[in-house]
């Protein structure tokens, strides 16, 4: 009663709640004000229209190149999402291998692909690989797509692999032992007992990585992959208009990431082993 503990709360729960609400409101109002200024700038500052709506309408037409770019990133995303998760299973299994050689190689793989920037990796593949050939003898005429797919897959397999390793390592060792003690081989035990459970643990981390994968497609602009940022740069260089293409590009990315994020949350809830659904 008389003594004030040194570990006492800095604010009461109620104060903390109010502070949080106030901070959130300030953020929301700032963003709202910014968007209002951006979209209605013509009305706010006469003669100073930030978004060229005429151009926006033009860029948003079905025949616009932006749709081609959008379809391209969707395709490259879907393809590399599947491939990187499949490769990630092998990376994850390699990481937990008891064979030092396998574990060491998997470790180096992850260290390299997590330890260097994606921009470096895509350049190493796009410019570095053809350099192995005599000038003019590189067999692929359009190397942009293969380079993009390989680079994104290799990079994100490292992250999915680590996510899956985390999922496997968070399981009690007794799961593997129980399976083996019944006579299952390592592969049978992995396939039927460990991986189904590890997957559930890994869903949030893998999902998070898939959202980053969508955004990483933007980095393909450095190899002139026909995606949204390249489109923006083209429009800007032609028209010197920033906001009309920016708004379009932003909306395009969100149409992929927002549903994906909802899907990931849903999958995470369904997969959560602690809320095991009734049969």
């Amino acid at each position: 009663m008389s003594e004030t503990g040194t570990g006492g709360p800095i604010a009461s729960d109620e104060t903390f709640r109010r502070l949080g609400m106030a901070a959130a409101l300030v953020v929301a109002l700032s963003v709202g004000a910014f968007l209002a200024l951006l979209f209605l700038s013509g009305h706010v500052i006469p003669g100073r229209q930030l978004i060229n709506y005429g151009l926006l309408a033009e860029l948003a037409q079905p025949s616009s190149d932006y749709y081609g770019a959008y379809i391209n990133i969707l395709q490259v995303f879907l393809l590399t999402a599947v491939m990187s998760v499949i490769c990630g299973v092998f990376v994850g299994l390699g990481r937990i291998s008891k064979t030092p050689l396998t574990a060491g190689i998997a470790r180096l793989y992850v260290e390299f692909f997590r330890g260097t920037p994606f921009l470096f990796q895509i350049m190493a593949i796009y410019y570095g690989v053809p350099a192995f050939f005599e000038p003019g003898t590189f067999p692929l005429t359009n190397f942009t797509w293969p380079a993009a797919i390989v680079a994104l897959t290799l990079n994100h397999a490292a992250y999915s692999g680590e996510a899956l390793r985390g999922g496997i390592e968070s399981l009690p060792t007794g799961q593997m032992e129980a399976a083996r003690s019944l006579g299952m081989s390592y592969v049978q035990a992995m396939r039927n007992v460990v991986l189904p459970q590890a997957w559930r643990n890994a869903v949030p981390a893998v999902g998070n990585d898939l959202i980053i994968l969508v955004k990483d497609t933007s980095l393909l602009s450095v190899i002139a992959f026909p995606e949204l940022i390249s489109q923006f740069q083209y429009t800007y260089s032609q028209q010197f208009e920033a906001w009309a293409p920016l708004v379009l590009v932003g909306v395009f990315y969100l149409t992929i990431t927002v549903p994906l994020s909802a899907l990931v949350n849903y999958a995470g809830e369904v997969a959560d082993p602690s809320r095991r659904a009734e049969p």
Binding site: E177, A178, A179, L182, G183, V193, Q197, R276
Partner: protein, 245 residues
């Protein structure tokens, strides 16, 4: 009868790094026999069972199942393990499978038994451990005692020659211990060969054919339960028993 034991430990040595955990274990378990292994914590009881199932490798000696060496590097581990059922202190049920799913998984995947036949067999086994009404329950929906009984049914589904039990009631609330020991008692009565590590001295005394006392990685004394509990031969056994009272 003087047949070779079904499960035989011959001069078994086990090291964890520098630590000498099993120091030359000689022990034979005859067909149909129930051997209870007791001893202070850390004496190597779990390690002994785990070696018999090759969850641990031994560094010296030999373990034989019906004469076949378990530790030969060309021994087919997966085949041998099917003949040795193991039940763990922490149940280790597969949480993503129902009770029936736990019981049918290995027969289906390892033996390639048809789903329907495996289901039928699981039904019989779950009934045998008193859980026929829980076949569709997930482990999280079962009590500890029920989970452990499913684990016993799961091990039985591979028709093992020997069953190993490692302190299978130690993680249970006291009121659930009886139902698991009851199942083990039934198994023993049906003639199953069993090696049981337990602290349940009442069970040991009543059901065991032979008691083995381990301490510091060695077998200190073995004997028939009545004689062992009433008139231990070694000072070590006397000490151990006096601490129980």
């Amino acid at each position: 009868m003087n047949e070779a034991p079904l499960l035989a430990f011959e001069n078994v040595h086990k090291y964890f790094g520098e630590t000498h955990v099993l120091k030359g274990i000689d022990l034979g378990v005859d067909e149909g026999e129930l051997v209870v292994v007791i001893g202070p914590s850390g004496s190597g009881k779990s390690t002994l069972l785990r070696c018999a199932n090759r969850l641990e490798e031994i560094q010296e000696g030999e373990i034989r199942l019906a004469g076949t060496p378990l530790t030969a590097s060309d021994a087919d581990v997966n085949r041998l393990r099917q003949r040795i059922g193991m039940v763990f202190q922490s149940f280790n049920l597969f949480p993503h499978k129902t009770a029936a799913g736990n019981v049918t998984l290995a027969p289906r995947k390892v033996r390639g038994i048809a789903d329907e036949k495996a289901e039928e067999r699981a039904e019989t086994l779950l009934e045998r451990v008193g859980l026929s009404d829980q076949r569709d329950s997930y482990p999280a929906e079962l009590s500890g005692g029920q989970q452990q009984r499913v684990a016993i049914a799961r091990a039985l589904a591979m028709d093992p020659d020997v069953m190993l039990f490692d302190e299978v009631t130690s993680a249970l609330d006291p009121e659930l211990v009886g139902e698991v020991l009851g199942v083990m008692r039934d198994l023993a009565a049906e003639g199953m060969t069993m090696m049981v590590v337990t602290h349940e001295m009442g069970f040991a005394r009543e059901v065991a054919d032979r008691i083995v006392l381990m301490a510091d990685g060695e077998i200190v004394e073995t004997g028939e339960p009545e004689r062992f509990f009433t008139d231990p031969e070694t000072e070590r056994a006397e000490q151990f028993l006096s601490k129980l009272l």
